[in-house]
């Protein structure tokens, strides 16, 4: 389920956005929970990190959209922000608060859907799961978000995670099957990378959690394309 906050001071616009979201939700068969706010202040008050996406009007009395976005970014790096505005010039600057995109008023459905489809896919690409590992030091439950990458060495998998390193006796292929649909991709025969944590790419290296891992030539192209899909909101 995707949780969306709609922030606009005009009721008519909020209602229209709700209608659009419901229509899109039907089209992509996705469950969407909509929460309406009449001002930036109300959004900040209600903010509890459960939002996946915020649809933010720029021109509002009190805190305007850009200011509200700045305050939100201080709390939450991850949430997707999309501006709704009749001032295209201002929205171009939206990248400063790492807004994903903007929709122009008067709202039109196709334009809305073009942008929001990618946003929905981006949210789905971020999906995580808890997995139970039968490690060499006992049974461990970890969230896939905590995994930076998995390395294979002599029939053992080494999980490099934010919670330390775990070892498990299984094959990378079995693990890959368990992680299907999540943001994991091989860059090499012996590394399975969580695309979420990639912080840079070199000519033949991937940077992840401060380490540099080699990409193999045959896997490089596919790896980079999957990374691009992950980041750009295309189904992985």
């Amino acid at each position: 389920m995707i949780t969306v906050a709609i922030v606009d001071d005009e009721k008519r616009e909020r209602d229209l956005l709700q209608k659009f979201f419901q229509k899109l939700a039907r089209e992509v068969s996705e469950e969407v929970k909509l929460i309406s706010c009449v001002s930036g202040e109300e959004l900040l008050e209600k903010y509890n990190y459960s939002f996946d996406l915020i649809c933010l009007d720029i021109d509002m009395p009190g805190l305007n959209g850009i200011e509200t976005a700045r305050k939100i970014r201080k709390k939450d790096e991850q949430v997707i922000i999309i501006f709704v505005t009749n001032m295209a010039q201002m929205a171009i600057q939206g990248y400063e608060v790492r807004a994903l995109d903007f929709v122009i008023k008067p709202l039109r459905y196709y334009s809305f859907a073009l942008k929001l489809r990618s946003a929905f896919q981006m949210i789905n690409n971020r999906e995580n799961r808890s997995i139970v590992l039968n490690t060499t030091s006992g049974i461990k439950k970890i969230n896939t978000d905590d995994v930076y990458y998995v390395e294979v060495q002599r029939h053992h998998l080494y999980y490099h995670t934010s919670k330390g390193m775990f070892q498990q006796k299984t094959s990378l292929k079995d693990l890959e099957e368990r992680l299907v649909g999540l943001s994991f991709k091989r860059c090499n025969n012996c590394y399975l990378i969580n695309l979420k944590h990639v912080t840079g790419v070199d000519k033949d290296e991937v940077e992840i959690a401060g380490e540099k891992l080699k990409m193999s030539r045959p896997r490089k192209k596919e790896f980079l394309q999957t990374l691009a899909k992950y980041m750009g909101g295309i189904e992985i």
């Binding site: 089209e27 295209a88 995109d101 196709y110 489809r117 070199d202 401060g210 980079l224 295309i234």
Partner: protein, 430 residues
């Protein structure tokens, strides 16, 4: 005695020499000279023993092994000294064998035609090696590596086997191998190999020609675009100047006369169409966005752009123009085919995420698309003159180590370009 020893090890030494000329310009392993000296210390005595055995014992069919040993030794020698994957090493070793062989052939011609001067013999080798070093080995390299694919190895190996068998036949013609069944079989193998080689050359040439034509097409398109860029830049600059002047004049008119306020507002609005100059922070991007933006406005295409143009600063102006010009032209062509005007939407986004530059262009489309090698094929009739747009985008992107991804889903076409940004602070950020 010394001469006798020399004769037995001359081949291996010449071969190692040839290997060295190929390794010198390439990326060498650390302790290069130490490594190859140690290997030489093993190979030279080994070759001496083998040669001794070869001239004293009757090997029969084993002569084939004797010659194979030298090819293997050459490859091993290259592998010891040079960094690279096995196709590159094999490729290099075989090239070295071929160069040694050429020098040896010239040397033989000299001997057979009665030459006896040892200095000239030495000179022959030095000249041949030097020529191949300058005009072959050095030119073959690409950033310290021989670009050898497994595909390229196949014909090379064929030819070497051919030369190898020919040499054996010539030298061993008085041995048993040259007579009877074996001889005929060998001869037929050579025959087949020759024919195979001729066919391979044809195929290869055709492929090269196609590639060349494609490259010409892309270059041509790029050249056109650079020209167009310059013209557009001038036009837009002059429009912007005019707009600025006009606004100034309107302000002056307002001060003088109050009756025509409405009329003046109208004029101002008219001018505003041209004054929506996009300011993304990158000149080339501004120009291409404005050019295509004006077109969109007059053709009822809704379009939006969210871009931090300064991210593109590391790219050449004409490259930016080529990428966006082509991509937006494609998008515009696609949405104009849509009957429902509401669906004529184009979205452009440029952002930076984790030191990766991402450019995304989205639009709805009407016609089913066909793909070739991951890129959509032109829907226009004239295939020879069109269809370079996408390839040009890919070509330009790859120049910056980037990749392009094309995706179609729910009647939305999405072109995505990913280019790693070189960050000087790389490695320090977690």
């Amino acid at each position: 005695m010394i001469f006798d020893i020399w004769m037995r090890i001359a081949y291996i030494i010449q071969l190692m020499g040839a290997c060295i000329i190929f390794m010198l310009p390439a990326r060498k392993r650390s302790y290069f000279w130490l490594r190859i000296t140690i290997l030489s210390a093993v190979l030279i005595p080994l070759s001496y023993l083998l040669d001794y055995g070869y001239s004293h014992l009757n090997f029969g069919i084993l002569v084939l092994v004797y010659w194979a040993y030298y090819i293997a030794a050459g490859i091993l020698f290259v592998w010891t000294g040079m960094e690279g994957k096995w196709p590159q090493v094999v490729y290099c070793g075989i090239c070295a064998c071929a160069v040694q062989h050429i020098a040896f052939d010239i040397y033989l011609i000299y001997i057979i035609s009665g030459g006896q001067n040892e200095m000239i013999m030495l000179l022959i080798y030095i000249t041949v090696y030097a020529l191949f070093y300058w005009f072959y080995a050095k030119r073959l390299l690409e950033s310290g590596e021989y670009t050898a694919s497994k595909k390229a190895l196949f014909p090379i190996i064929t030819i070497v086997i051919l030369v190898w068998i020919l040499s054996i036949l010539e030298i061993e013609c008085n041995l048993s191998i040259a007579s009877g069944q074996a001889h005929i079989i060998l001869y037929r193998i050579i025959d087949a190999l020759c024919c195979y080689y001729v066919l391979w050359v044809q195929l290869n040439q055709k492929e090269n020609k196609t590639l060349q034509r494609e490259r010409d097409g892309i270059n041509n398109a790029l050249e056109q675009q650079t020209k167009q860029y310059l013209v557009t830049r001038e036009t837009i600059d002059s429009i912007n100047r005019k707009c600025h002047d006009l606004k100034h004049q309107i302000r002056l008119l307002r001060q003088g006369d109050n009756g025509n306020e409405e009329f003046l507002n109208e004029i101002e609005n008219e001018i505003m169409i041209y004054d929506t100059a996009v300011k993304t922070g990158n000149k080339a991007l501004d120009i291409v966005l404005m050019e295509k933006g004006l077109f969109c406005k007059t053709h009822n295409i809704q379009w939006s752009c969210m871009a931090d143009g300064s991210l593109l600063d590391f790219m050449k102006l004409e490259d930016i123009y080529a990428i966006f010009g082509n991509a937006l032209d494609n998008a515009i062509t696609a949405v104009l085919e849509l009957e429902d005007i509401e669906m004529r939407v184009i979205g452009v986004k440029i952002w930076n995420q984790n030191h990766l530059l991402i450019i995304q262009i989205q639009n709805y489309y009407a016609q089913e698309l066909k793909f070739e090698e991951g890129l959509p094929v032109t829907t226009k009739k004239n295939k020879r003159d069109h269809g370079y747009g996408m390839k040009s985008i890919r070509y330009t992107t790859e120049k910056y180590n980037g990749t392009i991804t094309v995706n179609t889903k729910s009647r939305i076409f999405m072109l995505q370009i990913l280019i790693p940004l070189n960050n000087s602070k790389k490695g320090t950020c977690k």
